[in-house]
């Protein structure tokens, strides 16, 4: 039977999936349990000698039992590696890898071990041979986990080089590292750390391990802890183990839940704040490997994103926002005045009381020249939100603690984006802002309005200045707002393909020659295409998925994907092409590279097809 992991959804490289082992299906992320232990679990590890009726079981056996390896290949097994260890001289790691591959290559459908994690170049070498195995165990355990830089390097390398259908297993992972590992794309954990902690007299909690001997109370109500005291746990360690196992398992379930609710990243940030190693890994990952994170980060989410910690500012969708504003978005061309406004707690901003007020006074000042005015909103951590993008994820649905205090980093991001915007737009900029925003606007060279922005006098000043600045201009043609969204979504000047001359708007929908081409999805703020829209966008050459079959149903699966644009991200709107003909449009479930490489799982959910 085929074994593989099918991705259901991503949050960064982290994924919710289904692991198919022989005839079993197990949800992931999940937790390997060692046999001979009580409790109900989905996955068991046992050596070949253990007689167990529990299924599914991934077997392990000694590398040195060569006879056994030759006979028993059923059921699904984790093939042993030459156990050279982690911190060994390179020559030994190299030879051990060669030995491991000799055995592993005889059993392609099984799990294998990536041993030389101390040496990333050897990891890459191993992946050349093992990259398509359905299960890869990352060796190095506690030692690798205590070296965040190497850990990030190695996991991102393996995740990037292995098939998307390969499940990643990190044996011996410390429980505190489960969330960050899951975020990097590790699918499977095990109970080893719970054992080690129990031997060490450590009581695992969700926020780190405690020394049991120093505890006065047990802050848990699991079966082992209920009604017990720390000293009851000292004896043979069985009760402590039971508790530790339950916490470890609960952590995995929390991760799954967080994935389902699109808040894995938030969970990772929260948990990492308890553990310096996990935090170091998260920072290195966010700052140095953000392209790795971004590739798997969905373009939208129904969940409100809470940017509550410093780590939130480096989330992949935030950095993507910055990047797309710089590289894809361009300000409307026939505009003469840019008005800079502060953000509001309510999203979209234009629904807030303050913005409705600002806009009333702007309209009053502009009169019939309103189309010459373009509004942009300053905010952290997104920096800058042009008005027409205010409904686009994550601008349309984020939450931040508002204090009026900005870090230097937040300010810098904002100033840079504003400067970049103003340079491209070349218009006069009028800032109707207060507090810290004033420094930012001054720095970017904007004209400052009055400080007390909600006061009648300041608002009237705003009206007056708008009227004065526009005095010399004739009224222009209204700006076609969907252009900004289109470019943000598909790339620079994509709008010229999707919205040819004569495109009209009715509500959220856009028409060309009487036929609908696209509509704004109110949930994501992004454009959803029709087949006609797909045909128009075809010439642009991006966001295309080349199918090897005409999609027989509303779902295009990865097996049917021949090629897909590298720029495609989970949740993206894509055009499905078969034999140079547009056969469907829909939402990508995976990134372009992933759907090309994967052989199992959903690739595109088709909205329209023919």
């Amino acid at each position: 039977m085929d074994s593989y992991l099918e991705t259901i959804k991503h949050q960064g490289p982290g994924r919710l999936g289904k692991f198919h082992i022989d005839e079993h299906v197990v949800p992931t992320p999940n937790f390997f349990h060692f046999t001979r232990l009580p409790g109900r679990h989905d996955l068991y590890l046992a050596d070949l000698d253990s007689k167990t009726k529990k299924r599914p079981v991934v077997y392990d056996s000694s590398f040195f039992d060569l006879e056994k390896q030759d006979s028993n290949t059923e059921p699904f097994r984790l093939l042993p590696d030459f156990p050279s260890g982690f911190d060994v001289p390179r020559g030994i790691a190299e030879e051990a890898l060669r030995e491991t591959l000799l055995v592993a290559e005889k059993y392609p459908g099984h799990g294998a071990v990536v041993t030389p994690t101390r040496y990333p170049s050897l990891v890459l070498e191993a992946l050349k041979h093992l990259g398509r195995y359905p299960l890869l165990a990352v060796s190095g355990g506690e030692k690798l986990a205590s070296n965040p830089r190497l850990l990030v390097e190695v996991i991102s390398l393996i995740r990037g080089a292995a098939s998307p259908n390969t499940a990643l297993y990190y044996p011996y992972a410390p429980v505190a590292m489960f969330p960050i590992l899951a975020y990097m794309g590790v699918d499977l954990f095990d109970s080893a750390h719970a054992f080690l902690a129990s031997i060490r007299g450590e009581y695992i909690t969700e926020s780190g391990n405690r020394n049991l001997r120093k505890m006065r109370e047990l802050p848990c109500s699991c079966g082992a802890c209920r009604g017990a005291e720390p000293r009851d746990f000292l004896g043979d360690g069985k009760a402590l183990l039971k508790h530790n196992l339950s916490v470890a398992k609960a952590m995995v379930i929390q991760i799954r839940e967080a994935l389902r609710e699109d808040r894995l990243r938030e969970y990772v940030e929260e948990k990492a704040s308890n553990d310096p190693k996990a935090m170091a890994a998260l920072r290195i990952l966010s700052l140095e490997k953000w392209r790795f994170l971004e590739e798997y980060a969905p373009v939208s989410s129904p969940t409100i994103q809470r940017y509550v910690s410093q780590e939130s500012y480096n989330r992949p969708e935030v950095k993507r926002w910055h990047q797309r504003l710089r590289e894809r978005y361009s300000p409307p061309d026939n505009v003469k005045l840019t008005i800079i406004l502060p953000c509001s707690a309510r999203k979209p901003y234009s629904k807030s009381r303050s913005h409705r007020m600002f806009r009333r006074y702007i309209r009053r000042g502009a009169g019939d020249k309103l189309s010459l005015v373009h509004e942009v909103v300053l905010t952290s951590p997104l920096g800058l939100v042009p008005r027409e993008l205010e409904g686009v994820f994550p601008a349309g649905s984020y939450d931040i603690p508002v204090t009026g205090h900005w870090s230097e980093e937040e300010k810098t991001v904002c100033i840079d984006l504003l400067k970049d915007y103003l340079r491209k737009s070349g218009t006069h900029a009028l800032a109707h802002v207060d507090g810290v925003y004033r420094d930012i606007c001054m720095e970017a060279g904007a004209e400052l309005g009055q400080e007390d922005i909600l006061s009648k006098s300041a608002l009237e000043h705003l009206s007056r200045r708008v009227a004065e600045i526009l005095e010399d201009y004739e009224p222009g043609t209204p700006y076609f707002e969907a252009r900004g969204i289109c470019d943000y979504q598909f790339g620079p000047r994509a709008w010229s393909w999707l919205f040819p001359q004569g495109t009209t708007r009715k509500g959220r929908a856009f028409y060309h020659q009487g036929e609908q081409v696209a509509a704004i999805n109110p949930a994501t703020g992004l454009l959803a295409l029709t087949l006609k829209g797909g045909e128009l966008l075809l010439g642009y050459g991006r966001y295309l998925v080349e199918a090897s079959i005409r999609p027989p149903s509303g779902n295009l699966f990865c097996v049917g994907v021949k090629d897909a644009g590298e720029e495609i991200r989970p949740g993206d709107e894509v055009v499905v092409v078969y034999n140079d003909e547009v056969v469907g449009v829909g939402r990508a479930a995976l990134s372009g590279r992933e759907m090309t490489e994967a052989e199992h799982g959903l690739a595109v959910n088709l909205r329209h097809r023919r």
């Binding site: 392990d60 000694s62 060994v88 001289p89 080893a192």
Partner: protein, 347 residues
């Protein structure tokens, strides 16, 4: 596998370059077993050292650093002196940290004069020397057996029944066929064989170490060895094992493992089982938690001298808190993971 020997050679050269003192002949008495408990004498002869070891040799062996070319006359004088001081031993074990029958270590003439000296001690019933299989040819054995009055016994470092482990993990430099041939030759010439089994070669988990030792002990017995000696790895200076140990990628076996191996072999091997762990209880030797080490060590030594399993049964009955840790290690160690952290034994 080419790099392990390369690594071993590098470490060996580093070790040999270190300044060493010329060692003296040393000897001591210990308890051993020959159809009952006997007093045994152990005698270490300094020679130029194991040829295989000097060129790189075995991953765990640091004996070559104790060797030193000693003139035959000096060797004989020392030997005689030692024999006088050892007194009334019944079993004499001569170790030269190499091969007794390698003429580069001990020339034929000197060996005969050693035998002549032994023959002057009528209480000695058995004499053990040691050698690699390649030196155990018929001629050498016949000459020795004829010259020596007591029963001659040759210790061979069989180490493991697995050619793979012997080659890849130990770098022993001979195969199971070489061993079998040597045993056959010995038996034909009336020489008995004591097989050394290495407990927990590098790269093996604790559990693999146990399984391998049990299989190997049984195999050696089947092939005709008349005594089986279990040698847990001790961490010698300037060896590959030490390199791994320092990086926390190797730990010597538990004393509990030795108890288990001895008990597992009980039904299978109808020959004396011997085990004299060196450095027991220390970080570099086979050890447990530190609290029970001397108790378990004594049980093993008592067993070796008497072959009475009561000693082992009793020490198991008494047990220790660390026994569970050892059991956990057997379950957990080896899942795509380096060794089980050794510090857990000491908690």
């Amino acid at each position: 596998m080419r790099a392990f020997p390369g690594e071993i050679r590098r470490i060996r050269q580093r070790g040999l370059a270190r300044k060493r003192k010329a060692p003296k002949t040393i000897w001591w008495r210990e308890r051993d077993y020959l159809e009952g408990e006997v007093k045994a004498g152990v005698l270490i002869l300094p020679t130029r050292g194991c040829a295989w070891g000097l060129a790189g040799g075995c991953a765990m062996c640091g004996y070559v650093y104790d060797s030193f070319p000693t003139p035959p006359d000096r060797l004989l004088t020392d030997f005689k002196k030692a024999m006088d001081e050892l007194g009334d031993v019944e079993y004499l074990k001569i170790f030269n940290s190499g091969s007794f029958f390698d003429p580069r270590e001990i020339d034929r003439e000197t060996s005969y004069r050693i035998f002549d000296e032994i023959n002057r001690h009528p209480r000695i019933r058995r004499v053990q020397v040691e050698a690699r299989p390649e030196y155990l040819d018929r001629q050498a054995l016949r000459g020795a057996a004829e010259r020596l009055t007591p029963q001659l016994e040759v210790g061979i470092g069989f180490e493991t029944v697995s050619d793979y482990i012997r080659e890849k993990c130990i770098n022993k430099g001979f195969t199971i066929e070489d061993f079998k041939r040597a045993v056959k030759t010995c038996i034909k010439e009336g020489v008995e064989v004591k097989a050394y089994i290495l407990v927990k070669p590098p790269f093996l988990t604790e559990k693999e170490g146990i399984q391998d030792a049990v299989r190997s002990g049984y195999a050696a017995y089947k092939y005709g060895a008349s005594r089986i000696s279990l040698n847990p790895v001790a961490v010698h200076r300037d060896t590959l094992v030490e390199e791994l140990w320092k990086r926390r990628e190797y730990a010597p076996p538990w004393l509990w493992s030795l108890v288990k191996i001895l008990r597992d072999l009980r039904e299978k091997v109808h020959a004396p089982l011997l085990c004299h762990p060196t450095g027991a209880g220390k970080a570099r030797g086979a050890h447990n938690c530190g609290r029970c080490d001397s108790r378990v060590y004594k049980a093993i030594v008592n067993f070796s001298a008497t072959q009475k399993y009561e000693y082992l049964d009793k020490v198991l009955e008494t047990g220790c808190a660390c026994y569970e840790v050892w059991r956990t290690q057997l379950i957990l160690e080896g899942f795509a993971q380096g060794i089980f952290p050794d510090d857990l034994r000491r908690l």
